[in-house]
Structures are given as C-alpha cells and as structure tokens.
C-alpha cells in the first residue's frame, strides 16, 4: 500500500525517508549507501524501505 510511518519492529520513523530513498536509488546510488546516509542502522528499519511494494497508485482509482 503506502510506506508505513514507523518501523514495525523498533518504532523508528521511516516514512519520511522513503521518497528520498527511491529517488536516490533510481539515480543509480547503491541502496546500502543511501540507507547509511539516512541513518537507518538497524536491519529492521532497512528492510522496511528495501522490501516495500508501493501499491497505493494501483488502489487509488477504486
């Protein structure tokens, strides 16, 4: 659906980092470096961005 506001496991706010993350990865940066620079150190927060499927645009028309 849409990126969760917080990390499911630890509760860190990760929603704000998602659009920046996607933009930078599309420009060719390595996801690892982007996550490091966004200060997402724990693997629970990292997986939130890495494994997210943004389906809201497909749901929106209904």
């Amino acid at each position: 659906m849409i990126i969760p506001v917080r990390c499911f496991t630890c509760g860190k706010v990760i929603g704000g980092a998602f659009e920046d993350f996607v933009k930078r990865v599309d420009l060719g940066e390595s996801p690892r470096d982007v996550l490091d620079s966004l200060h997402l150190d724990r693997y629970c927060c990292r997986r939130m961005l890495l494994t997210h499927a943004n389906l809201i645009d497909e749901v929106a028309p209904y």
């Binding site: 849409i2 706010v13 929106a60």
Partner: protein, 278 residues
C-alpha cells in the same frame, strides 16, 4: 552509581552506567519505554459528505484508505512535545474536556490529486507545534477526492499505546572486560584482524584494547587465539545503555524524566515500607 555520556544528540543517547547492576539498568529501560509521557494524535474527526472549494468544485470526502487507517497513521507521527507545558488530559484542571494545557489541535485540508504529508497538519494556535518531520506520507488522494480533518493530540505513555513511547531502540549490554596475558602473547595479530568491531589494536609490539565500548562479547578473538591468552567477559557492574528518540522529545529530556519517575517510585516504596514498620 556513575553515568558517563559517550554520545548525546537530540535523537540519540549512549552512556555507560558504572557501579550498578542489570536489575537497575532494566528498571531504567522499562521506565523510559513505558512511562515517559509524550504527545501523540489520539482523536481524529473526519468531515463526511461533499467538500466544496472556492471555485465551487465539489470533492468527495474519501481516500484510497479507510479512515481508521488514516487516523492510525496520523497517530504515529511524532508531535513536538514540551513536557513542562502540558498535563495528562485526565489529570488536567479542565477535567478531561480538553484545553490548551493538555491538548494540541491540528487541522488538515487537502484536495486531490496529491500526496498528503505530515507537514500538511496545521497546528491551531501556536506555530511551534508544527510537525518537524514534515515529509512522512500519510495518504495519497486521487482526482476529486479531498480530506478535511481535525485532529487532537494529547499526552500519553508507552504503556497505553506504542505511539506514546518516548524512546525507541532502547537497550543495554554488559561492558566488556578484556584481559590479555602479555607475557604469553606471540603477537600473531590474528585477534586484531578477526574482531568485527575494531576493539583491539597492535601498538608498540603489544596488543592493546583500544575501544572496549565497541566490544559485543562475540568471542571471535578468544577462538582465533592459538596461544589462548585473551579472556573476554561481560562486567555486570558496568552497563552500556543506549536509546533513540523519534524527535518529539530530546534524548536528554527522556533520560532525565525517566530517572525522575524512577526516583519518585522508589521514594513511594520507601515511604510505604517505613509506614509498615511503625
């Protein structure tokens, strides 16, 4: 008991508590997680029915997500909190009705197509309560959809709901006690290489413990050492404690408040015990 700060930024704290025990560290952890109050949105009123804009265009008050989900997402957004200025709503002088000293009101008015961000929440009244983390997507609106919302934030504790949790990633571990028998050490240096955290270093023909605070007691150096001269053990009287905040409160505020709550609780216990003796 002594606290040495290793790192203290607005959102991150790391410190060593010495002359203590794991029970105290755990009490502090639980207090910080469950009892330090914080503001969070708790009540959301949605405008239902058609919404008109200035050009008389009508929008439907729906979004791709259920209103409950939108309200839940709003609740998770960190709200800047001033602990000295607010009371718990139930204990406020207004008697729980909601007044400027226990609640913050926000309004949100967006018309699609657009993405609604946390920064679109407008505080009613003081602009210092504007949300700092303003790029969190809340919901996406399609053509002819609009959202008109009044949200109320109030104080709560992590015990009630995780959205009121003052700190996150709260944890502690034993500080490492690393002993090296220099007389038997053959200076192979494999322990320096194998350490994933860079704790050990070779200096002046001697293996030295350079960063004991980084050691996570993995014992790799003990296993790799042929001469068997390294001993690594956790020290239960010295504890490395760390936590983060989501930006609603400063890390220092959380720590000071947590210790104060703990102190009050022990004081309470002491009074009750002394009344038993009489």
């Amino acid at each position: 008991m002594k606290i040495d700060i290793l790192e203290m930024t607005p959102t991150r704290a790391k410190f060593v508590i010495s002359d203590t025990n794991p029970a105290f560290a755990n009490a502090l952890r639980r207090t910080i997680v469950a009892d330090v109050p914080k503001m969070a949105i708790d009540n959301v009123e949605f405008h239902l029915g058609p919404i008109m804009d200035e050009k008389n265009q009508t929008f439907e008050s729906v979004s791709p997500m259920f209103d409950e989900t939108v309200a839940h997402r709003l609740g998770l957004i960190p709200i800047p909190t001033d602990l000295s200025a607010f009371n718990l709503r139930a204990k406020c002088t207004c008697g729980g009705e909601g007044c400027p000293s226990c609640t913050i009101m926000y309004s949100l008015n967006k018309k699609g197509p657009c993405t609604v961000y946390s920064g679109d929440l407008e505080p009613i009244g003081d602009a210092k309560f504007r949300i700092k983390d303003d790029l969190i997507p809340v919901v996406k609106l399609a053509e002819d959809q609009a959202l008109l919302i009044y949200a109320t934030a109030e104080l709560g504790t992590g015990k009630q709901h995780a959205k009121w949790q003052g700190a996150l990633g709260t944890g502690y571990r034993y500080f490492a006690k690393i002993e090296i028998e220099h007389s038997k050490c053959d200076l192979g240096g494999s322990c320096v290489k194998v350490c994933p955290k860079g704790v050990l270093a070779k200096e002046d023909r001697k293996i030295v413990v350079k960063h004991p605070e980084r050691c996570n007691l993995c014992n790799s150096c003990v296993e790799v050492c042929d001469a068997g001269v390294i001993r690594v053990a956790g020290d239960p009287t010295k504890i490395l404690f760390k936590f983060e905040t989501d930006g609603a409160l400063q890390a220092k505020e959380v720590l000071v408040r947590g210790l104060k709550i703990l102190e009050e609780r022990f004081e309470n216990l002491r009074e009750q015990i002394s009344s038993l003796e009489e």
